[in-house]
Every structure is written in C-alpha cells, then in structure tokens.
C-alpha cells in the first residue's frame, strides 16, 4: 500500500507571529490584587482564528488516529470509537451541568450513572461500583488503598506485600509502591503464572495478588480458579486488572473467576476515545468485602430519586475531584446499551477470532512463544531479525511507513524483542490481511531500508537519545539553547 503522511513544516505556535511579551500591568486593578499584580512578563502569540485553526489542523494531519490507521497495539484495545458518543457527550444537558448543583437538578445524569454502575456490576460479576476513578492505574491505586484500609480494620497490618506476575503491566508495581506496598514478581511458566511459585510466595504478609486475565501474553490463565483459592486461603485479596477484559466479555467475568476487585478501562473495552493518551476512564468494581471502603460519594437510589451519599464511615474518602470522567462514562454507557447482551458477546468472539487468525498467519514468519490458543492479543518474538542486524524497533518503524500503527514493542519483557499484537473486533478481515501483507513486506525488506524507516511520515526516525540527554521541554529551553548551545542537566538518579 502506498502511504504518505502530510509533511508540513509547521512552526511552533509562537513562531507563526512573534509577539511582544504580554504586559500585564493594570493599575486600576492592582489594588484588588493585594500587591500581587503581575510584573513578570509572559509571552504567547496573538493570532487570528484562522491562524489558530490552520495551525492545529495541520498538526492533526501529522498524526495517526483510528480513523486513518489500524492500531494493532497490544494491551491497548484500539477499537473504533463510535461517533455517536461524541454527539452524546456534547449534549448541553450534560456539558453544562456543574458538579456543585443540588441533586434535584441532576436526576437525569444520576439515573444514567446509576444504570451504568448496575451494567458494569453485571459485566464484572462484582456487585458494587465506583465511577470516580480517572483511569486504569488510578483504579489500581484506589483499590490498593481500600485493601490497605480493610487490613487495617482487621488488625492485619503485617500484610505489606503485593504479588504480581512478571508479565504485569508497569502500572501494577507502580500503583503498589504508591499505596505503600512492596511488590514481588511471581515468575511465569510458559507465559502463565507459575502456581507453585505463587503458592510459595503467598504468606500472611500478602495483601493482594494482581492479575490480568487474559494476561499480557494474550493467554488465558486457565488455573485462575486455583489461583483464587490459594490467594484466599492465604488471606489475600485477588485484584483484576481489567485492561484485557475485551477478550472475555460475556464469557466469564472477574467475579466468576474469583476476583474480589476489578478495575475496568472504559477507554479500552467500552470504546471511549484514547484522546492521544487521555482522558480515559476507570470503573472500580468490588465484592461485599471491600464495598464499605469505596470512595465517597456513593450513588444511592431512594424510591425514584437518586442521591449522593457521604455517610459512609469506612470509606477511604475522595480520590478525584467531583464524580469521575462523566463525559467518557456517557460514551461507554451508550456503547454498552447499543451492543446489549448479544452484541457484547459478539465483541469478544470477533476480537478473539481476529487475534487467533492473525496469530496463525504471522506465526509462520516469526516465533510465537507459549501455547497457540490466544485470546484478544498475541506475542511474537523479533529475535530472529537480529541475525540480519535489525531489531523489532526497525520493523515497527517500517510498519508506520505502510500506514499502519506498530504493535506494542518490547513488552512483555519476558519475551526477547517482543511484539504484542491486538487486532480489535472492529477490524475487518480485509484490514487484517492488508496488515499481514504489510508485515511480511516489512520483514522481507533489506536491513538498510528497515534501519532507515520511517521515510513516508512527517519526520524521519526521531533521535530519542538526544532528547533525553539534553531535555528541551519548552519554548524557553529552545531559546536558551539558541543562546547557549550546551544545555546542562542533572545526572540520572
């Protein structure tokens, strides 16, 4: 396929039309400002509306999105984001509702949030839900704070360890550390949790075991019920990282697998846009054990009225301003209602079918570690490329030249030169086949072409090493560099 990305030499916004520093002095008001009237100048350009529109439109043309390109990014579930969600979230009857309004004036949105909680409870198999969390990692952190509070109440403060598989997402150990736990990695055995290692590591110091199922290698942890039993026998909590829920929608659920708590990523499974890195949205679903610790306020229905309840004596309190990313929740609500029971089952069926289809075809060209039946994503190893002096990264960059996004690379770390491929259910067989062909073409390219990729994008290979060695993170840094070409940075560590 021939692909050429737009290549505007688009200036930085202040280079479009240099402006004198804004002079903030306003004598008339300085008296009201308690002596703090701004003296330090700040600079930002004064542009016309067309100049602004053209600038950002050109920038947008130098960016991949789902509507331009297939994104087979493992662990990210880059499915199509239905346009109707954009319309719904911009309805003035939600866009202009203030969180401090009395509940009598917001019964409409509260009824939606309430029904959303109920639907997510059914999907997760865990009956109590909070929509306050901002993202998956935030959900992990909040759940761990709740687990901490639970063990404090029980006088089991020696439970200071969080166990996680060596294939876990980086957010898991990072969240554990933020919540004050030591994380310990449980080794994998053929890509799945080693039950014997887990059993050895569980103890009365274990607070929780965090697990993604299917895991980050795309494999279903078939011994999940035994894992749940072992964790519970040791007195620990089993945590479900919902990043990969798309694969099992309507087939099983965190609750049915024995998990006590789960975060769901509405921006993955339920198709809210990723926004170039955010906003996402999380939902935290828990069983009875952890329910009292959920953040306030809790949404309650009394008769036909909905209210926010703050009288939750064991709640950990607030974790974010207001009630959650409501604009995103609304999109996800529409997505779930649209699919209904049968539609969500079709989602998991097709996602897993797409993944196995592509795995089977690509598996003829690069080694696939582990078992062959995968769920929504699969892992390949780019290690054989090394013999030709190229790396997985080069292959990934060449795929960009073909107009498809690269898979996730170098994760999971367990697999050498790994590529993690996730083709969501919204991709057609034709698109999978085109990706396959592009992938094989890239594999057969000469090492020179691969190392020089990409060539069809707005820029050539970006020097990430230089960016980190001399960080230039703002307009001011660029100017300083112009004045004095050697920037200084504190050493690592």
């Amino acid at each position: 396929m021939t692909f050429r990305q737009a290549r505007w030499d688009e200036p930085l916004v202040w280079e479009i039309r240099p402006s004198p520093p804004a002079s903030p002095g306003d004598g008339a008001l300085s008296e009201l400002l308690g002596g703090y009237a701004r003296r330090t100048p700040w600079r930002w350009p004064e542009l016309s509306e067309l100049e602004v529109a053209r600038h950002f439109t050109r920038l947008s043309q130098m960016n991949f999105g789902i509507e331009t390109s297939f994104y087979p990014l493992g662990s990210c579930t880059m499915k199509y984001n239905p346009r109707v969600g954009e319309i719904l979230a911009r309805n003035p009857k939600i866009a202009h509702v203030h969180p401090d309004q009395p509940t009598e004036t917001v019964q409409g949105i509260l009824s939606i949030l309430y029904d959303m909680e109920r639907m997510l409870a059914r999907i997760s198999g865990l009956p109590h839900v909070s929509l306050q969390v901002a993202a998956g990692a935030h959900g992990e952190f909040v759940a761990l704070l709740m687990i901490r509070a639970l063990f404090q109440d029980r006088g089991e403060t020696q439970r200071t360890e969080v166990l996680l598989p060596d294939t876990a997402h980086g957010t898991n150990p990072a969240s554990a550390a933020m919540a004050g736990f030591q994380s310990r990695e449980v080794p994998s055995d053929n890509g799945c949790v080693s039950l014997s290692a887990l059993t050895r590591m569980l103890s009365d110091r274990t607070a929780a075991f965090m697990l993604t199922n299917p895991n980050t290698a795309g494999l279903f942890e078939e011994r999940v019920l035994e894992i749940a039993d072992r964790v519970h026998e040791a007195g620990g909590i089993l945590y479900y990282d919902g990043a990969n829920l798309n694969a099992i929608l309507g087939r099983t659920s965190p609750g049915a697998m024995g998990f006590d708590v789960a975060h769901l990523n509405l921006h993955k499974t339920f198709a809210t846009p990723h926004g170039g890195g955010g906003p996402g949205d999380g939902a935290l679903c828990v069983g009875d054990l952890l329910e009292p610790y959920l953040p306030v306020p809790r949404l309650r229905r009394v008769g036909r009225r909905y209210t926010w309840s703050y009288e939750e004596p064991r709640s950990i309190g607030k974790v974010k301003l207001a009630y959650g990313n409501v604009g995103l929740i609304l999109r996800a609500y529409a997505y779930i209602l649209s699919h209904g029971e049968s539609g969500l089952k079709r989602v998991s069926r097709r996602a897993v079918l797409n993944s196995n289809y592509l795995a089977q075809r690509l598996g003829r060209h690069l080694p696939r570690p582990f078992k062959t039946l995968v769920k929504h994503e699969f892992v390949l190893s780019g290690a054989p490329l090394r013999a030709r002096g190229v790396r997985t990264l080069d292959l990934a960059k060449r795929l960009l030249d073909e107009g498809v996004h690269a898979p996730t690379v170098y994760f999971p770390q367990l697999v050498e030169e790994s590529l993690m491929v996730e083709p969501p259910e919204t991709e057609s067989k034709r698109d999978l086949d085109l990706f396959y062909e592009a992938f094989v073409r890239a594999l057969n390219e000469s090492p020179e072409v691969l190392r020089r990729a990409p060539q069809n994008l707005s820029v050539r290979r970006v020097d990430e090493v230089q960016a980190a060695r001399e960080p230039r993170l703002s307009w001011r840094d660029l100017e300083k560099e112009k004045a004095n070409p050697v920037a200084s940075t504190p050493p690592e560590g």
Partner: protein
C-alpha cells in the same frame, strides 16, 4: 447496535476456516467451565437513533447552569468555549489517537503537547512542565509525593481552609507512606493563614508546604513573596488557577518549587465534573522527580526538528515500582483543548477575561454588603474572582434552597459533607458570578436575595 463489527457470518466463517475451526466457541475452551457465565443480564441491542433518543430523554431531566443562573464557586468553572476549540478536538487524528509512543506517527500531537508545556511554563514562570495529570486535586497529591522525593520527611503542611475534596485526595495520595498532613490555622475573621506558624512547623521533618493562590476561599494570602526565603530548602508547593496567573505575579517568581492547578475552566465545559485537566510544573533541577509524561524536542535522522516523549525512565512502564508515579493514561486531549483555547484568546483577551471576573465578583460583593444579614465578603483579605458570602441567621442549605426557587444556583457549599449535620457547619458559601451575562445575573441575584431575606429565608 451500529455496524461496529465488520462483515457478516461469512466473514467469520472465513476466519474460522483459516484456523480449522467450526465454531468460535472453541476459542474459549480454555475458560474453565466453572468460571463461565450463562448470561450478563443486559438487554437487546439498540439502534443509534434509539440510543440517542434514550440518552436525550434522560438528560432532559437535568437543569444546567444555563437554565439556571450559576454562581457556583467551587474549584470548577463553566466558561464559554469558542467553537473552534471543539472543532480541533473533534479532529479524529487527535481524539482517536493513542499515546504518542511512536513519535514519527504522532508529531502533530507531540508538537501540540510541547506547546502546552511551554504555555504552562510561561504562565507559572517555572522551568519544566509535564503534559498533564488527571485533575487539580490529584495534582496536589502528586506534588506532595514529588516534594517528599525531593526532601524526605514525615509531615506535609496545608492551609486549614483547603477545599475538603482536595484535602481528602491529598491524604489518600499520602496514605501509603508514614507521613501526616497537618493544618496551618487560618484566622476565622480575616481568612489569613498563619504563615509564622507554617514557617515554624516547617522545620525538621517537614517535606513541604502547600499554598493556594488564590486559596479555596478565593483569597490572596499576604506575605507569599517572602515565604520561600523563610522556608529554606523545604519545598514550597503552590496550587493556583491558570487564568489568575494572567494578572497575578506567578509563583515561579516568588520561589515556588512545584506549581499545580486545574485547567478545566480554560477550554473545557464543566461536564458534571469530568474530564478535567491537572497541571504541574517544577524546577529543572527536580526534573527527574516529576511525575507523568514529558514531551521533548529533538531532531530526526535528517537533522530536522522533531518531538518525542522523553525521560521515560521516570515512568511506570520502564521503572515499574520505582517510577515517580503510577500514572499512564493522562489528560492529553484536555491539554490540547487548553492550548487551543489560550492560543485563540491570546494573552490580552485572557487577561481581560480575568479582569472582568475580578470586577464582577467585587461588584456582587459590594451590592450584597448592604444586606445586614450578609457578610459580603465574609473575610477581610483581598480576593480574586470568587468570595465567601457569610450568612447570619440562616443556614447555607436554607439560603441556597430559597435562592434555587428563584432559579439561581447561589453558591457552593464549603463544608465537608461527610461531617455530621451539614446545616450547623460552616456559615458561608462560595460565590462566583458567571463569566457571560454577569451584569444581568448580578441584578437578579441581588433581587432574589432581597426577597429571600425579607421572607426570612423561607420560600417566596
């Protein structure tokens, strides 16, 4: 259901044939029978028009801050957002894209985020800014954790009048560590924070002091410009309002070590409280302690300017348990909205907007000060674009309820709703006039107040 899954049964059959399977159920045989679920208990699929009608009919039950006159003064603000801002956000290359880990495929977003970082550096007069956090509340939590990485210690000081949600979020962000959050007293009459006590208590094992600028009551505390020299190497964390910085001397000019804020009011509708935009900036020497994603300028293989995520070794996907934060998904699209909004208005119009809000707040306070039952403003210190309205002889719920019957959202409650009987709590509300149509709104507020007070706070 929309046509979101491509093809028909035949297409699925073709995929299955390649796998040598007769049914897709075989792909799920690795799920143990005991863990399988028969059904979810959800309804039938719906068409797009059914969904739109359903959601619209639910939402019709909401009253908005446009149906009612909005004087809510809490941390979020629903200002008008020019059409172009949303026009840019709706470019699907932006809103459907993923985190720009593949720099070459994402130059547009990376450049916009680089501009965003530059803008926050300009406004704060700090040295480095990241490309967003979840919101202004969690940004305070992240700032406290960062301060602790910088200095170590056991106590973090905050003003007694810190907005209750922010205080609770902060306590949660610190809960995993052997530290405490201590309140610095605020004078109940003047609203002045006791900086002498703050400085005294910042000795020894204190790892930071939070100052709000303006504070949760809308006030501009005295003595901030000399504060850093009194604190020495104790990190000074400042939580501020980006619009206010168009008029106020920026924290970077009076010694702040970390500056955070909430950006929602500039370019995003309030949307019942989310999505929001957390802002953070710091000193270059502390760069490696900063949480979240950073965009840096570099060059491509031909030596042309190019942008990329950088210093990722601070982040969870590389550093795991030793990362500076667990944050992964952030608020990139909201950072774009903030940048487009501020660029479209430009420095002059932004400052005009801020000035207008300051003037209207003062005008409302002045008008209300003639009512003997009200203290407008409740505190003596200078305030910015919102103020605490003191009520005497009637409770906030009574006053707010009576004003609501005049279709006026008269202010935000200050008290922590988790504590006991709210009617006996704090005797004031936080009031901010709307940015659009303030003149008429203020007249109606004053008129309604007159009627409410003359009937003793009961319904008209």
């Amino acid at each position: 259901m929309g046509r979101w899954i491509p093809g028909d049964d035949e297409e699925e059959s073709a995929l299955l044939a390649e796998l040598g399977l007769s049914s897709a159920d075989e792909l799920f045989q690795d799920i143990p029978p005991r863990a399988r679920i028969p059904r979810l208990g959800l309804g039938r699929p719906r068409t797009e028009s059914e969904i739109v009608f359903h959601v619209e009919s639910r939402l019709r039950k909401n009253r908005t801050d446009r149906d009612l006159l909005c004087f809510l003064g809490g941390p979020l603000r629903d200002r008008y957002v020019p059409a172009l801002v949303d026009g840019i956000l709706q470019r699907s290359e932006f809103y459907t894209s993923y985190t720009p880990y593949q720099a070459e495929a994402s130059q547009g977003l990376l450049q916009a985020l680089f501009e965003f970082q530059s803008l926050w550096v300009e406004l704060t007069n700090m040295e480095v800014a990241n490309s967003s956090l979840y919101d202004g509340g969690t940004a305070v939590g992240e700032a406290a954790l960062m301060a602790r990485r910088l200095r170590g210690g056991k106590r973090f000081l905050v003003p007694e009048n810190l907005w209750w949600e922010t205080r609770s979020i902060l306590e949660n962000y610190l809960r995993g560590h052997p530290v405490s959050v201590e309140s610095i007293p605020v004078d109940p009459n003047s609203g002045e924070m006791d900086l002498d006590t703050a400085v005294r208590r910042s000795r020894d094992d204190c790892f930071g002091l939070l100052i709000e600028y303006p504070d949760s009551w809308g006030l501009l505390q005295r003595g901030l410009d000399g504060l850093k020299s009194r604190l020495g190497d104790v990190p000074l964390v400042v939580s501020t309002d980006p619009l206010a910085l168009t008029l106020l001397e920026p924290p970077g000019s009076w010694g702040a070590d970390i500056v955070v804020g909430e950006g929602q009011g500039l370019g995003m509708p309030v949307s019942y409280g989310g999505p929001l935009l957390g802002l953070i900036a710091g000193r270059r020497r502390d760069l490696r302690a900063l949480p979240g994603r950073l965009v840096g300028a570099s060059v491509d293989a031909e030596g042309r300017r190019a942008f990329t995520l950088t210093l990722q070794t601070r982040e969870q996907h590389i550093r795991r348990s030793r990362a500076t934060s667990n944050i992964c998904t952030n608020q990139a699209l909201m950072a774009l909205a903030f940048t487009v909004y501020c660029t479209l208005l430009g420095p002059r119009e932004l400052a005009d907007l801020a000035r207008q809000e300051v003037r209207e707040a003062h005008r409302l306070a002045e008008r209300l000060s003639s009512f003997p039952q009200l203290r407008a403003p409740r505190f003596a210190l200078p305030y910015f674009n919102r103020f605490v309205l003191g009520l005497e002889g009637l409770t906030p719920p009574d006053f707010l309820g009576a004003m609501a019957r005049h279709r006026i959202l008269a202010g935000s409650r200050l008290e922590d709703p988790r504590r006991g009987d709210p009617s006996s709590a704090f005797p004031g509300i936080l009031v901010a006039p709307p940015t659009t149509g303030a003149t008429r709104a203020i007249e109606r507020y004053v008129q309604a107040t007159r009627e409410v007070l003359s009937s003793g706070g009961k319904s008209p």
